[in-house]
Symmetry: C2
Subunit: 358 residues, 2 copies
Amino acid sequence: MDGGVIKRSPVTSSQVAEHAGVSQSAVSRTFTPGASISPKTRAKVLAAAKELGYRPNAIARSLITNRSRIIAVVMAYLENLFYPDVLEELGRRLAAENYHVLLFTGFKDRDSDPVFDQLMQYRVDGIILASTSLSSELSEECTVAGIPVVLFNRTTERNETSSVTTRNREGGRLLGQFLLAGGHRSFGYIAGLENSSTNRDRFTGFRSALAEAGIHDIVVRTGNYSRAEAETAAREIFALEERPEALFVANDHMAVAVMDVARYEFGLRIPEDLSIVGYDDVGPARWQSYGITSVTQPISAMVEATVDILMDQIESGEIEARHKIIPGELVVRSSARLPGTGIVEIDGRRIYRPEGGS
Amino acid sequence: MDGGVIKRSPVTSSQVAEHAGVSQSAVSRTFTPGASISPKTRAKVLAAAKELGYRPNAIARSLITNRSRIIAVVMAYLENLFYPDVLEELGRRLAAENYHVLLFTGFKDRDSDPVFDQLMQYRVDGIILASTSLSSELSEECTVAGIPVVLFNRTTERNETSSVTTRNREGGRLLGQFLLAGGHRSFGYIAGLENSSTNRDRFTGFRSALAEAGIHDIVVRTGNYSRAEAETAAREIFALEERPEALFVANDHMAVAVMDVARYEFGLRIPEDLSIVGYDDVGPARWQSYGITSVTQPISAMVEATVDILMDQIESGEIEARHKIIPGELVVRSSARLPGTGIVEIDGRRIYRPEGGS
DNA sequence: TCATTGGTTGCATACGTATGCAAAGTGGAA
DNA sequence: TTCCACTTTGCATACGTATGCAACCAATGA
């Protein structure tokens, strides 16, 4: 009711030092694990600090240690629940290592250069790129600057930047085999972002599986990993004279939309009239309304690998591109017709493992 | 292939100054909008900066300006898509003001005190609390420290902290009126977090609407805004001898789960056997599989208000608790039986506006 | 007792930038 | 030309912390 409070400047280590009757160094050492400080003065300092409400200034500390303990996470959009899940896990794992997340989100992909500029100004200790590619000049610049970068769920053509991915090629292949084993003979593919490595690899694997069975015609439309565009693509495919019996949608986020269009706009029964498979095994894929047969991308393992790479490179100061590839599994649910064999139950989930499979 | 690169220290303003043949001050002024600098030296500095790959060190700048241009966003969990949507919009809006997001997520609610400690060490310019409450000591501490705090979609008992919310009481009330107008006579409520203001207000409004119609019995179970718990709560309610005809689920995130349980575990038809209404108007509520009748929480307006409050308080240095309440609307879809009157169409959406409504 | 050792402490400085102040430069008017 | 007003520049310092170095202290052994 008194209409605002005048800003009081925060307590500094010198003030604590004076209050405790010691030097500023002693205060600093009190808050530096492993520093040389006697229990007695330490106690004095802690008491004074508590009394004054002192908190070390991480900004000032960064300036001198050259470590901000901040990791930049770049995630252009969060529409696909896969990414928020990743973000949550990243927050958890990085907090455990006493690092913090500076998040860059909500921008158009083509605006990533200014974003990059901002992020570099904060002298972050590492960068996780989860939904944007990086021009190779920028990647180069990071390497020269000694900032580790990890591409999450993405790779680049040249392999100069570290990455964590799953076996997208094998996953696509497995889905192809699964649909073939289910007896399907005509196929469609709703693609993700055209220039993304996940899209390319998943499709390549899928196509190769079909090719081995002598099938070369695949109806392809592009959904760009966007819900709205996936709906449009689905409408186009379902309106075709010869609608494919089986559809691989490049990720679950789009697959959910496609299922809705199939059921509610075209009256198709799934899987009787149409089999749909997806990728990611994200939340809604597991919901009973959808029950999407999908290849998992194990978020926990992927995030763990990402953080491991970053921590290693930050500690060693040596930046050598590492590429971690994590295996996924084909989880069988109800959105696609079942093959006669190859389904095993593990930990309450049904997994597809064909005999000749890798 | 050469096995790592030695970390090169970043370019400093002094190095640029030397290279350009000017003083360090000149470099600083070149990158400070509105500073006194001639076009000629400015050009020289920019050229040198570009050549050396110089970027101002935001950390060092913060130290002297006492402004980090960082806003802490605390969002314990992102499971409910509402929050990722908010996060994306926050990223966008704050980036436009040249602020950045330090995200705290992936922790248990009871661990919020250490989180708070971390966040204070970075001398953030403001704090947005989107899924955690703040003990009143901590709130007090922020005020004294001159750090603006905004509670997003939450209020506290005492109104000492700024907040942005929607008219939860009115929303709950409107949903009650809607269900009554639809002819229902028995009601259930699946609650959110017991101690959250949203849950309390929505239920209070709902109950008051029913009370005015002489209905005082409401079957209540608690879902704590969690999908899993909501499923359990739904199973309990649907197994009752006298299952309510209409169910208000405290948010859409839970409502989606409840609909799945109703349909696929109990074989209930919606809305023929059971009407369900939710809150938030979040993504899945709009999907055709669900089509949840729901009260909107307009994310864009809420985020705008939040950022406005923060910017005001940061600029003025005066922290006076402000409470912004944003109106929502009842969007009518297919998850609940329709009343005979009161539905109007606006911008392609069907909105419920009863005659006597506020 | 003194010398030695190992642990503590304070002093002084460095990190990279912003900014008040005074000096220097510029241009115009008389 | 001289004077004045205004702009531009550099110097010096400050921000809050960490840390090398030297001084100091306590405890131990001879």
